[in-house]
Amino acid sequence: MNETPLWASESFWKKTAIWVTAGSFLILVVLTMDSLSKTSAGSKRVPAYTVINKKIDYQYNKELHKSMPVIGENEFLFGKEYTEDEARQLVDLGKKTTQAKNCMNCHTLLGNGAYYAPDLTKAWLDKGWISREMREDMMVKFLMDPENNARTFGSNRKMPNLDITEQEARGIIAFLKWMSSIDTNGFPYNFKTIEAEE
């Protein structure tokens, strides 16, 4: 009479827990393999590192209702065309430097990190660099000596001097340029780039 119904029994939930966990994990593994292959450098969503040789923009696509990266004609970085290997090495140096300098505990990258300084996802395209002609030079100077080239926007918040070498600064800029070409499903929304007409 007092038999426990199935839905309240320990063994039923034990089996459910095991099956649900195993099933979810299996789906995750399959999706992970798919996602990784669709986001390797050189894929449609994550361009090859040589994209730093190109002009990059981020434009609102009316049909898709979101902004999409737009890769244009040649626009060399520091006036040089990089081979595949050189481009990868330069972006790698930049990426490594952003980690070694702990950028992520002030800034966000792809929206992840800390909230004390602006997001870097589309930093390469930011209007704050005034014009395309001035951008590279301003970025190098800022990274190497942020105190004297401070860009505080009236906040009094200054980036500290992180002993970034010129080569590292160039790497960071290449990394930022490459990152700005990643298809981030429309994040950040409503972003107007340095290329946009007022």
Partner: protein, 507 residues
């Protein structure tokens, strides 16, 4: 030469004097605190070591949080001495590590009781404790004194990996995995020698996942999309899956001990929670894959499954409150039960409600990377994890004093009640302040200004944001006051108590 020798002698004498002085201080402290370790089994003596370090790291978390919060208001504060990134890194790392210390301590606390035998590798467990503690100290010292390095692999190996939450340099990653493996061995070997239970089974499988997942975050990748993909495997699948289940396990055991809930009920609930937690949490990982370059299907999968994530947390509230109610709140440790109730609600609101509020992609595109996440983070980590660890500190101190009475009418009960109120009120206040800041940022920086640097600073300079940062610091101070009171209470509660705790029987 002679000057050198005398200089050296002077240093030696000073060092010896300092050593003597600190030993005297420690002895004074010991005779004041009157804790008697002979009340504890060897396994539980190991557990309280973990708890002690956890409390110290909890202090570090709050201290560096306060420094970082101050910098939001006075950006020049400690500029180029202890910059925001250093303070913030120690703030969140201390949190992760004190929670791990608390969890490991909690498991060691109940391991012998649950398995019915002594811990198998106690000596190994003690060595692992000292290695872990030493490594954490060294990592923090390097964070403070070296801070950053050149853009080379060696920086990632020895200084800082520069990845939020798992900044620890690579050598420490290896150490963490080793320590967790020793812990895992102790758990499995002890249950194997004694007896297994549903709780033991869930715990074992959960620890496999916990240790295994950490390895996913140990690699450097140039491709930031791939790197963040694996990085979230560690962070999300720890915090929103394996940690939650670990807390479910710890909670299950403590409800049996505190209230005398029947094992069958506790274990059935535990399985339900595991099913719901992993069923929603594993694919709920997708809410971190909206904007990092990963395919669009994550918007649907992540949105759907993460919207389900609060359900197990509701179940945990029902479970805890129902059990407490059916036992008419009769229990042997009032502060511990109060913190367990705080856990049930804190977990539900912090992790559940606050997570749900901004988890759908249509909203998240505006809130992602704003103070919204900080608001959620504060309430969730505190509500879900800090609370349960504090409950265990109270369980431990009760036994450390020889299973004394900690029910109604204990002396100086105002201390634990005010510590509870100040800590919860402080964290809740910070959460609300950060939420207001997050709303303001989502609106001004994101929706109106389009997330440019100019937009970012327009939002940061806005009076409502500035005010929110002021309130956050104020409530941070309240949290700190609560912490001080908590430590004072933990050191003194039950000190002159002569009554024994009542026996709680299973019913």
């Amino acid at each position: 030469m002679s000057m050198n020798t005398s200089g050296l002698n002077g240093v030696m004498q000073n060092a010896a004097a300092l050593y003597e002085k600190s030993r005297a201080c420690l002895n004074n402290f010991k005779s004041w605190v009157q804790l008697d370790s002979s009340h504890l089994s060897d396994g539980r003596q190991l557990a309280v070591k973990y708890f002690t370090v956890a409390v110290i790291l909890f202090f570090a978390q709050i201290l560096f949080g306060l420094l970082a919060a101050t910098q939001f208001i006075y950006p020049g504060f400690l500029y180029e001495i202890l910059d925001f990134n250093v303070n913030r890194m120690i703030h969140i790392n201390a949190m992760i590590v004190w929670m791990l210390f608390g969890f490991i301590g909690s498991v060691y606390w109940f391991l012998e009781d649950e398995s019915g035998t002594e811990i198998v590798g106690l000596k190994l467990g003690n060595i692992a404790f000292w290695v872990f503690t030493g490594a954490v100290t060294l990592v923090v010292l390097v964070y403070l004194l070296v801070q950053i390095g050149p853009g080379k692999d060696s920086s990632l190996w020895f200084i800082n990996e520069g990845r939020e939450y798992i900044e620890a340099p690579r050598w420490a990653d290896v150490g963490i995995v080793l320590v967790v493996l020793i812990f895992f061995y102790n758990v499995v070997a002890t249950f194997s020698k004694g007896k297994w239970s549903g709780i033991a089974g869930v715990l074992t499988l959960d620890l496999v996942a916990l240790a295994g997942l950490y390895v996913a975050g140990m690699f450097y990748m140039t491709n930031i999309t791939h790197e963040q993909y694996w990085w979230w495997w560690v962070i999300h699948l720890w915090v929103e899956a394996t940690w939650e289940v670990l807390v479910g396990v710890i909670m299950a055991w403590s409800l049996m001990k505190l209230l005398g809930v029947r094992r069958k009920i506790v274990q059935t609930w535990l399985y339900i929670e595991v099913a719901l937690m992993f069923g929603s949490g594993i694919l709920g990982l997708g809410h971190h894959y909206f904007w990092i370059g990963t395919p669009e299907y994550w918007l649907t999968i992540g949105g759907f499954f993460s919207a389900l994530e609060p359900i197990p947390l509701v179940a945990m509230v029902v479970h805890a409150v129902y059990d407490a109610g059916t036992h008419a709140f009769k229990n042997g440790n009032h502060p511990a039960l109060a913190w367990i109730i705080a856990q049930a609600f804190g977990n539900f609101f912090g992790a559940g409600v606050w997570g749900f509020m901004h988890t759908l992609p249509q909203i998240n595109i505006f809130t992602h990377g704003t103070q919204w996440s900080a608001s959620h983070g504060h309430l969730a980590f505190f509500g879900a994890y800090a609370t349960i660890n504090i409950a265990f500190f109270y369980l431990a101190i009760q036994q450390w004093r020889g299973n004394v009475w900690m029910g109604g009418g204990i002396q100086n009960a105002w201390r634990w009640k005010w510590a509870l109120a100040l800590l919860n009120g402080g964290v809740l206040g910070m959460t609300i302040a950060l939420l207001i800041a997050g709303y303001e940022q989502s609106f001004i920086e994101r929706a109106v200004e389009g997330s440019t640097w100019g937009g970012y600073f327009a939002a940061q300079n806005h009076p409502s944001f500035q005010n929110a940062m002021g309130w956050r610091l104020f409530f941070g101070g309240m949290t700190f006051a609560g912490f001080i009171l908590l430590v004072w209470d933990l050191l003194t509660i039950g000190k002159s108590e002569t009554r024994k705790a009542p026996e709680i029987f299973e019913s």
